[in-house]
């Protein structure tokens, strides 16, 4: 069964005094996106035409923007080293009607809507394949694991609302093989393996360069590398974000931690000017919180942090003193590589007065069957089952 399968489902902990209030958006690995209230009741559901190509967010106009998976790695002629693929960005209104879409070839993992309405996204594009001389200089990784002898450099693309690529960043043109070395236990099919991006207040871009065990900031639009943060101090991280206070927060997955023989994840907040870690969340027994892949963290208005423990399908909120004050375990089953899973790629919290909710009624009674089957009363908290 797995210890996670023994979890109670739905909202499993709720400290009314200390927890935030608001709505949480997430997508299981299937065709749904769910918006739940703080009690775990469904207040909106979007049925997507395609399964999640990882990410989705709400927009201030009340629409949802969603990366859809329209191609598998196989269809691109790639091995499953290339995961998190999407390929199509779609905007749907509150009721699930398609209002805009654009193909985003080779798109994967994260994307962000810029202030000007353009979409910035990560992709594994053939444009980024490293020339052989450069590939030979890239250090680290498991020897002989290149993709048909080639290293695919990640790319970041910006498309306008007509789907035209207006800006492109290729890792192979800006990273430095002497500095940006791959983890020795990872595949050499990709360099550096981007899994999240964030446009900063200064207009530059933070990239989560996963296989390098560092966070890289690049200048927009020149693309040159401005900073490399926490090199060798975080491991295969995800969801790197700039906080309103100027600090950077990241989900340190902890796969392949150098010199440590215990697997655990943590969320770190650091000051980019000093690279000093000013706050971190780790479970009291560190191995109690471990999500090898995906993972996310979001700072809330009340100072707490919402953490998405992806592999366990668990979203929880912690105070600055690391007390868990809200926890939700997703009861929705999706599928990954043919196996059922309740994992969640990322979760976002929106406050009650979020502008996107202005013209909408967030009423659980609009979803009677969804709430009956998946809502707070669906999962009795006290039974233990036996097979007989």
């Amino acid at each position: 069964m797995g210890v996670e399968r023994s979890f109670k489902l739905g909202v499993t902990l709720h400290n009314l005094q200390k927890a935030d209030d608001g709505y949480t958006l997430f997508g299981p690995n299937n065709h749904d996106a769910w918006l739940i209230d703080i009690e775990g009741r469904v207040v909106n559901r979007w049925r997507m035409p395609y399964s999640a190509g990882c990410h989705g967010r709400l927009l201030p106009n009340g629409h949802i923007i969603w990366a859809s998976q329209i191609h598998t790695a196989e269809e691109y002629g790639l091995t499953d080293d290339f995961s998190g693929l999407g390929g199509l960005i779609q905007e749907l209104d509150w009721d699930g009607n398609l209002v805009w879409e654009s193909e985003a070839p080779y798109q994967g993992h994260d994307f962000q809507v810029m202030d000007n309405g353009h979409i910035l996204y990560i992709c594994f594009h053939p444009n980024g394949i490293l020339p052989d001389e450069l590939a030979a200089e890239v250090k680290g990784g498991l020897p002989g694991t290149e993709q048909n002898g080639k290293i695919w450099g990640d790319c970041v693309m910006e498309i306008d609302r007509q789907g035209k690529v207006v800006w492109e960043w290729l890792a192979c043109e800006h990273l430095d093989p002497k500095i940006d070395t791959l983890c020795p236990l990872e595949s050499r099919s990709m360099w550096p393996y981007l899994n999240s991006l964030c446009v900063c207040q200064d207009g530059n871009i933070l990239l989560s360069t996963r296989y390098l065990n560092q966070i890289t900031k690049i200048e927009y639009p020149s693309g040159r590398v401005l900073n490399r943060y926490l090199r060798g101090r975080i491991f295969h991280q995800h969801d790197v974000r700039e906080l309103p206070n100027g600090n950077i927060m990241a989900f340190d997955n902890g796969l392949h931690r150098y010199g440590e023989e215990l697997s655990y994840s943590r969320v770190v907040e650091f000051d980019p000017s000093t690279e000093e870690v000013v706050w971190e969340y780790k479970a009291e027994q560190p191995s109690d919180f471990y999500s090898a892949i995906c993972g996310g963290s979001e700072r809330l208005a009340n100072g707490n942090t919402l953490i998405c423990d992806s592999v366990a399908g668990r979203v929880f909120e912690v105070t600055p003193s690391n007390e868990i004050v809200w926890e939700y375990v997703s009861p929705f089953m999706g599928e990954k590589r043919g196996l059922p899973t309740n994992r969640i790629w990322r979760a976002h919290r929106y406050s009650r007065d979020y502008t996107g909710f202005k013209d909408h009624i967030l009423d659980p009674t609009r979803f009677p069957w969804e709430n009956l089957i998946y809502g707070p009363h669906a999962f009795r908290k006290d039974f233990a089952f036996t097979i007989s």
Binding site: L13, E186, G259, D288, Y290, A384, I387
Partner: protein, 385 residues
């Protein structure tokens, strides 16, 4: 994998028709003693050892318990698996035999001849360490590498046989994992006496299991390159095959670690049976596995405090999430207490010949300190035992 704040604890699944009936011995990582619980997780017996365990305790055929404890202020207490004392306790917790050595670590094996094999650290000479490959450069422990010695000690504590790993391993073959420290080599975390008197060992940092010839000290056989990733707990089964708990830590190229229990043939090196369950079964530390007489396998997913039994097809027929009280300081009430190792003993096991109380009819346990017993029993009551 993670522990949530609320989950079903104790007995989670039980198919009485399919399990190997018996009692379960488990050593919680944060306690100072060993528990025996029945198939429904009910208290049967407890031994108080007075010190934190460095590995799973085992019941001997005569009913005594062998327990490896940690000396908290030992010279190498910072190294993973540090121990320091080996105790043999009788049913009532009275210490019958004690072997102390501040350099002891990890496990032990009681030999058929009544002696005991123990593992300890010894400094590796510089002429050898300079040849050892792998690991993070410069990560030796204050410039030194600690190697393993397996000793056979008799009842009087005399060392009657000794094997130094660094005299028999090959630095070009026994290479340390690239992201591990070079503080120890090879980091033997489990030893087991085989039917032919030779030793089966688990070298953690080089991710190999090996058979050591007792007479010559030669490494007769190694297995694991490209197959194991920081395994723990290797034993020889009655059918001559080897069973090992592969933790799956620092796996190359895997985006999501998972553990496996592997049965392999030492003659052919072929994997005969494998149990895995994707990311639902993963423990980067501790852990054990035991083949049961009915063909099922008992698995202890240490970090998760999860004990379960699977049949040959991999179907779970028994599952218990450890929530036994310990004297641990962790106040996280919902978490499962981590378990070093778990063993099942059936009704015919020779070591279960002692008087036993029916669950729920326990009295004060003789041989334990009054204070500990009182606190424990009140917590047991609170749990409904």
């Amino acid at each position: 994998m993670s522990i949530g704040t609320a989950s079903t604890k104790g007995l989670v699944a039980y198919d009485p028709w399919k399990v190997y009936q018996g009692v379960n011995l488990l050593t919680p990582a944060e306690g100072t003693g060993v528990w025996l619980v029945d198939m429904q997780g009910r208290y049967v017996h407890y031994w108080e050892a007075g010190c934190v365990p460095s590995c799973g305790a085992e019941l001997l055929l005569d009913g005594n318990l062998l327990y490896a404890g940690k000396q908290v202020d030992g010279p190498l207490a910072d190294l993973e698996g540090a121990a320091g004392v080996l105790l043999e306790l009788d049913w009532f917790g009275k210490c019958l035999w004690r072997h102390e050595d501040p350099y002891l670590h990890h496990g032990f094996a009681r030999s058929a001849n009544g002696n005991t094999y123990v593992t300890k650290w010894t400094e590796i000479p510089a002429r050898v360490t300079s040849k050892v490959e792998g690991g993070i450069e410069g990560s030796e422990r204050s410039g030194k590498m600690w190697g393993d010695v397996i000793q056979e000690v008799d009842q009087a504590g005399r060392v009657v046989w000794e094997w130094l790993a660094h005299e028999h391993l090959d630095p070009t073959i026994d290479v340390i994992c690239p992201i591990c420290r070079r503080s120890t080599w090879p980091h033997t975390n489990s030893i087991h006496e085989m039917a032919d008197g030779n030793l089966l060992v688990s070298f953690m940092r080089t991710s190999t299991v090996a058979k050591i010839d007792r007479a010559s000290g030669d490494v007769l056989w190694r297995w694991g390159k490209g197959q194991l990733a920081h395994q723990h707990f290797v034993t020889e089964m009655d059918n001559g095959n080897v069973l090992v708990f592969d933790r799956g830590l620092h796996t190359p190229g895997m985006d999501c670690g998972y553990s496996q229990v592997i049965e392999l043939s030492p003659q052919t090196g072929e994997k005969i049976w494998v149990y895995m369950d994707g990311h639902f079964f993963f423990s980067s530390i501790l852990s054990s596995c035991q083949r049961l007489p009915n063909g099922n396998t008992l698995i202890c997913e240490g970090a998760m405090g999860r004990l379960f039994e699977v049949d040959a097809k991999g179907t779970i027929v028994w599952e218990y999430l450890n929530n036994l009280p310990s004297e641990a300081t962790s106040p996280v009430a919902a978490r499962h207490c981590m378990v070093h190792a778990a063993f099942r003993y059936g009704v015919d096991f020779a070591g279960l010949r002692r008087p036993v109380l029916v669950p729920r009819q326990r009295q004060a346990t003789p041989g334990t300190a009054t204070g500990v017993a009182t606190r424990l029993h009140s917590r047991l009551e609170a749990l409904g035992y």
